[in-house]
């Protein structure tokens, strides 16, 4: 039984990783012929070609600007919203949570199309503006907000509601009570929300596709590359992205294991 489950997991991981490894291997392929899968010697030419591509750098810059702005705004707005929702009565909370859940249940393509209708109408209304960075940022904040709220809500539920009151009784202004008591208490949720918003924004294609006008983000750039018949640069880009993700995850893993070890030793000493 054990052998069977081992083979099963091996086959599953082969299925999940083989395509990625093929991409990475062929990013070093020297061939420039029509076929994407004939090996003809090691070369770094696709990497060189990739870095000469001005469009890539522009789209990367756009993606990072949008992700930073959208995740920051959605985290601030979402944190305030979560605290507000927590103070609502049952009925009002139910209504607001339904509105929050709606974009998460709605297919991405419908969210994208509906926002496109709004932005096109607004752009016309404000005098022939075009869709671009601004509409992208608004769209990204919109689809990030529910995830931020949902990662903060459980932390607020766990928090003792008397804490903020106690701080105020001890002489804090509501503002101080929020920054010194409530915020540190829900910080893990806020950070999770921020990270989630950032990764969702970087990764999004469908909503961006409908709300970007002619502005390129990294996923849209990738999409335009896949539309070409042959684009080996895409392999190089995949390899670079996969390497970056792997590196980040390894760093995070080492850090968390170190932290848990440290807390273990601290516990032993105590």
């Amino acid at each position: 039984m054990k052998a069977v489950s081992r083979i099963y997991m091996f086959l599953l991981f082969l299925f999940l990783y083989a395509p990625i490894f093929v991409l990475v291997i062929f990013s070093f392929n020297g061939s420039s012929t029509m076929s994407r899968s004939v090996w003809s010697g090691f070369s770094l030419r696709w990497y060189a070609r990739l870095f000469q591509d001005q469009m890539l750098l522009v789209s990367l810059r756009n993606t990072l600007i949008i992700a930073v702005v959208a995740s920051a705004v959605s985290t601030v707005l979402g944190t305030a919203a979560a605290i507000g929702i927590n103070g609502l009565n049952k009925w009002a909370r139910r209504v607001v949570m339904n509105v929050t859940n709606f974009p998460m249940m709605n297919p991405d393509i419908v969210t994208g199309v509906s926002l496109m209708l709004l932005f096109v109408a607004a752009a016309k209304f404000m005098g022939n503006l075009a869709l671009g960075m601004v509409s992208l940022i608004f769209a990204h904040i919109t689809f990030c907000l529910p995830y931020v709220i949902l990662s903060i809500m459980p932390k607020l539920r766990q928090m003792d509601p008397n804490l903020a009151e106690a701080a105020e009784d001890l002489g804090c202004t509501p503002r101080q009570a929020f920054f010194h008591v409530v915020l540190p208490e829900i910080m893990p949720g806020v950070v999770t929300g921020l990270i989630m918003a950032f990764t969702l924004s970087i990764d999004d294609f469908v909503v961006s596709y409908f709300t970007s006008g002619t502005t390129q983000t990294l996923p849209i750039f990738i999409y335009s590359m896949t539309r070409k018949r042959v684009s080996p640069e895409i392999n190089a880009l995949s390899a670079l992205l996969f390497g970056t993700i792997l590196l980040l995850l390894i760093i995070i893993n080492i850090r968390t294991s170190r932290e848990s070890k440290r807390s273990e030793t601290l516990q032993k000493e105590a």
Partner: protein
């Protein structure tokens, strides 16, 4: 000033006052959601029921009927992908949940890692594998087998859906499986159930909430995808998503018809979710009655 004194005399009143303030924090968010969720959704409805001039019409919705074969194909392929994901993903989640905790974390990390790559790249990877002169066909021919035409078929589209969305099946099923109280399983064993019976009568029913959320999380993006069908299905396997894309950004520019299709898709998905939630609630109620 008077009010300030009163409120310090009656702490309860002060608490209520604070509540009012914390409630106010929700308003910016509400305004945001009204502008960017409710108004756009209303726009879709308005566009769906009007013609180019802006007068009321039902013609768009009637036209959607012409595309019923595309709707059926989308639902069919999405359903097949969901079933395949469940059949492949459930045993994987089960196997992972049997490991030690640290091993579980590593395996789950490995399941999630490909999801961090943009799904366009993951789908593109399959394009290079499935092509007529692609990696798999070259390997087949090298071993003396005839080549197989795989790209631009419905099978390739289903494969792309399963590949992209199977983690969404494995993760919720896994997390429900790890939360099952081991003493329940032990009790069943003590009462004489063999492993098969324990699985069918205890583990499987208790893991249903995970299965249900996995099914929705695979089915919804599969039904509404337009990239996977475009990249792996060629031009001949259009799905609902492609149809919407064509009306808004493609050659067949017609936002009114596009809105009507989007509206039908949205209603379809919401009905599906409603049905699934019903199942979930029934399951929870049954679980409650069992205890």
């Amino acid at each position: 000033m008077k009010w300030g004194m009163m409120s310090s005399l009656f702490p309860r009143q002060r608490g209520r006052n604070k509540e009012v303030k914390s409630k106010a924090a929700v308003y910016p968010y509400l305004v945001w959601m009204i502008i960017f969720i409710i108004v756009p959704t209303a726009l879709v409805v308005v566009f769906a029921f009007t013609d180019k001039g802006g007068t009321f019409t039902l013609q768009n919705l009637q036209e959607v009927g012409q595309y019923s074969n595309i709707f059926l194909r989308s639902i069919w392929l999405g359903a097949v992908a969901t079933v395949v994901s469940l059949v492949v993903g459930y045993p994987a989640a089960y196997i992972i949940s049997r490991h030690s905790v640290s091993r579980q974390n590593t395996l789950i990390m490995l399941i999630m890692l490909p999801m961090w790559m943009n799904f366009l790249l993951r789908t593109y990877a399959w394009m290079t594998l499935l092509e007529d002169s692609g990696f798999i066909n070259r390997a087949l021919m090298a071993c003396g087998f005839p080549s197989v035409h795989m790209i631009n078929t419905q099978g390739a589209v289903v494969l792309g859906m399963v590949y992209n969305y199977i983690p969404y099946m494995i993760l919720p099923v896994y997390s429900v499986l790890t939360k099952i109280d081991p003493s329940v399983i032990e009790a069943a064993e003590d009462l004489g159930a063999d492993r098969r019976t324990v699985f069918l009568r205890v583990t499987l029913p208790l893991s249903m909430p995970g299965v249900i959320s996995g099914v929705t999380m695979v089915f919804v993006p599969s039904v509404s995808t337009f990239i996977i069908s475009k990249m792996l299905g060629g031009g001949s396997n259009l799905l609902i998503g492609d149809l919407i894309d064509m009306q808004f950004l493609g050659s067949a520019y017609n936002p009114n018809l596009g809105s009507a299709i989007s509206l039908v898709l949205m209603v379809l998905i919401l009905i599906c979710m409603g049905i699934m939630n019903q199942f979930d609630e029934n399951g929870a109620a049954e679980g409650g009655m069992m205890v």
